[in-house]
């Protein structure tokens, strides 16, 4: 049956490759081209202006505000998420002590895992609308309503520029933790039981088990988590677009690059400038991923 091989290969690859090249590859390539034009307005005739858009980006305050926010996101969001998720994963999988020579999780761990993962299946846009009501700045919001019961003044979660970004980060953490609990649980269950047995025999307590054994052996999974969360920190579009005041406000205190790209392109029709931001975002994401892989590289433990 050799003759049929090439027609078969071509037949199977033609449609997916065509679709992929038209809708994915060609836009990515064109983006670099468009970023060097002054394309404004749907019908305008774009001209090549070299790196002028990028020079303008350097003086654009909103651009720098967005970059700063990515910095904050990148520092706070992955760290908080991973710490909480690791803690819960440990409780759910390993903290129940030993039973029949095996490490067990805490009582009810299956139910907790189902609940924790739930936000992950909800659309970010839906979650954004949900938290608009939770965060309302007066007693009608859930959090301020609760705070009111204990006599605390309402907090302007989303309208106070100092805390608006943190409020949004809190929602990202709320949604992400469950995913990483499940991810870390999978990692923990692949650690051989005899490692824990040996440690417990030697009298290692829960803290030793967690810091000296679990974390080192989970390093690969944590690295993956860090990269995933870092990439999410360069997105945040749907949440900022739906949840924040004035889409990135108040006073641009929550705006992010994807938000500015979308606004610049589809509200202001400055396609060249928006693409330049896209290119900047691309290089930031790539740099982050490459740096993370380099810095966190360790000798891989095989078991």
């Amino acid at each position: 049956m050799r003759q049929g091989k090439y027609p078969f290969i071509v037949g199977f690859l033609a449609a997916p490759v065509l679709l992929y090249v038209v809708f994915v590859i060609s836009p990515y390539v064109q983006a670099f081209q468009i970023s060097m034009t002054n394309w404004k307005g749907i019908s305008a005739n774009p001209q090549f202006i070299g790196l002028e858009n990028f020079a303008r980006l350097f003086e654009d305050e909103i651009f720098w505000a967005a970059v700063r926010h990515h910095g904050v996101l990148l520092l706070v969001m992955p760290l908080v998420t991973i710490v909480i998720a690791l803690f819960f994963a440990f409780l759910l999988n390993l903290s129940g002590g030993q039973r029949d020579g095996r490490m067990t999780g805490i009582w009810g761990s299956k139910v907790y895992r189902v609940i924790f993962f739930l936000p992950q299946v909800l659309a970010v846009a839906i979650v954004g609308v949900l938290f608009q009501a939770i965060y309302r700045p007066d007693g009608t919001g859930v959090i301020n309503g609760l705070l009111g019961k204990i006599g605390v003044e309402p907090v302007g979660w989303l309208i106070d520029p100092d805390i608006a970004l943190l409020s949004i980060i809190a929602v990202m953490v709320w949604q992400a933790v469950g995913f990483y609990v499940v991810l870390f649980s999978a990692g923990m269950s692949s650690i051989p039981k005899d490692v824990f047995e040996a440690a417990a025999l030697d009298g290692a307590g829960r803290f030793t088990l967690f810091f000296r054994i679990t974390i080192p052996l989970l390093w690969d999974t944590m690295q993956v988590a860090w990269i995933y969360l870092g990439i999410a920190a360069f997105d945040a579009f749907a949440l900022v677009q739906v949840l924040s005041v004035d889409r990135g406000g108040p006073d641009n205190s929550t705006t992010v690059l994807p938000m500015e790209i979308w606004r610049t392109a589809f509200n202001f029709s400055k396609f060249g400038y928006a693409s330049a931001m896209g290119v900047a975002l691309f290089f930031m994401t790539i740099t982050f991923a490459a740096l993370t892989l380099r810095v966190t590289r360790r000798e891989r433990l095989e078991f």
Binding site: P27, F87, T140, V142, L146, A238, S275
Partner: protein, 302 residues
């Protein structure tokens, strides 16, 4: 375990069997209590907002603008009816089901075809095509946004479901191909060879022999794609941005109601719409939670 890091204590001082004996059972000490409190608090943080949304859909506008922490006075379904008809949630839901059904089916068909060929056949350019697909996972969609809009527009597919479906398929291919080609490589070659020996064509071997064998992998990635495409927000607001409200998908519709709720002042309707968007996903999640958890995390644990 081939390295020595974790084994050292085992070899050096195995002297405390008495202490190990004590921790065989699981006493609910101070640590256990604290652990349960922490887990319970987080569980409430997750359930609370969702439950509150459901309850708010039964409240009246006055109740919603009163104390946030009260139960509704009566349970009526008015707001749900309004959200379904007047706010077109029914229409958006139907649109989303249609789009996601077509795009997931398309993604699975085209993705598994490409993955199979790339995993099981050697031909010049195989690696090139594979890396072309896989590289798509590393680029931020926002980079492609402007040109993508014009590509779709120039094909006359802007503001159409077909355009959205094709774009969903194209952007789901990188991960689908990456995941499935790894999966096809793990399947034994002997069955396919036997089928070919019996005179089965390449195409028939794929559909009747390989596809059934790859079922676990296909299920995981199908769930992954359904959820990803159901929850997509950016692509619809860019590609269905014209005056085509009747074509909107659910995320777009709910986000838009939330912008309008302030003016039209139908807050219960908004919460009913939110509940309607959440409930089907929640039901599916509870039924398939095992597959969904493994499907969504399978990308990370190779």
């Amino acid at each position: 375990m081939t390295t020595d890091t974790a084994h050292k204590p085992d070899a050096t001082r195995r002297t405390a069997p008495a202490r190990a004996g004590r921790r065989v059972r699981n006493p609910l000490g101070a640590f256990g209590v604290l652990a349960h409190v922490a887990l319970l608090v987080w569980a409430i943080l997750i359930i609370g907002p969702i439950l509150w949304t459901f309850l708010s859909s039964f409240k009246t506008n006055t109740e919603i603008f009163g104390d946030a922490i009260t139960l509704p006075a009566s349970f009526g379904w008015d707001a749900w009816g309004r959200a379904w008809d007047k706010a077109h949630i029914g229409q958006y839901m139907l649109n989303t089901v249609l789009v996601v059904a077509c795009s997931t089916a398309g993604t699975m068909l085209l993705g598994s075809m490409a993955a199979y060929v790339l995993a099981r056949y050697t031909f010049p350019g195989n690696r090139l095509v594979y890396f072309l697909f896989v590289s798509g996972m590393t680029f931020p969609v926002f980079l492609a946004l402007v040109p993508l809009f014009f590509v779709v527009k120039n094909l006359g597919l802007i503001d159409t479901h077909l355009g959205l479906i094709l774009v969903y398929i194209a952007y789901s291919l990188p991960f689908t191909v990456f995941f499935l080609s790894a999966f096809f490589k793990t399947l034994p070659t002997s069955v396919a060879e036997a089928a070919m020996m019996d005179g089965c064509s390449h195409t028939r071997t794929f559909f009747q022999v390989m596809m059934p064998m790859a079922k676990p992998g296909l299920i995981s990635i199908t769930i992954f794609n359904i959820l990803g495409q159901w929850n997509q927000y950016l692509l619809p607001i860019v590609l269905l941005s014209g005056n085509v409200e009747d074509k909107w998908v659910i995320t777009q519709g709910v986000a838009n109601i939330s912008t309008n709720a302030g003016y039209e002042a139908d807050w219960p309707g908004l919460f009913a719409a939110l509940s309607m968007a959440i409930i089907p996903v929640m039901i599916i999640y509870i039924i398939f939670q095992r597959q969904i958890q493994s499907g969504l995390t399978s990308g990370a644990v190779k």
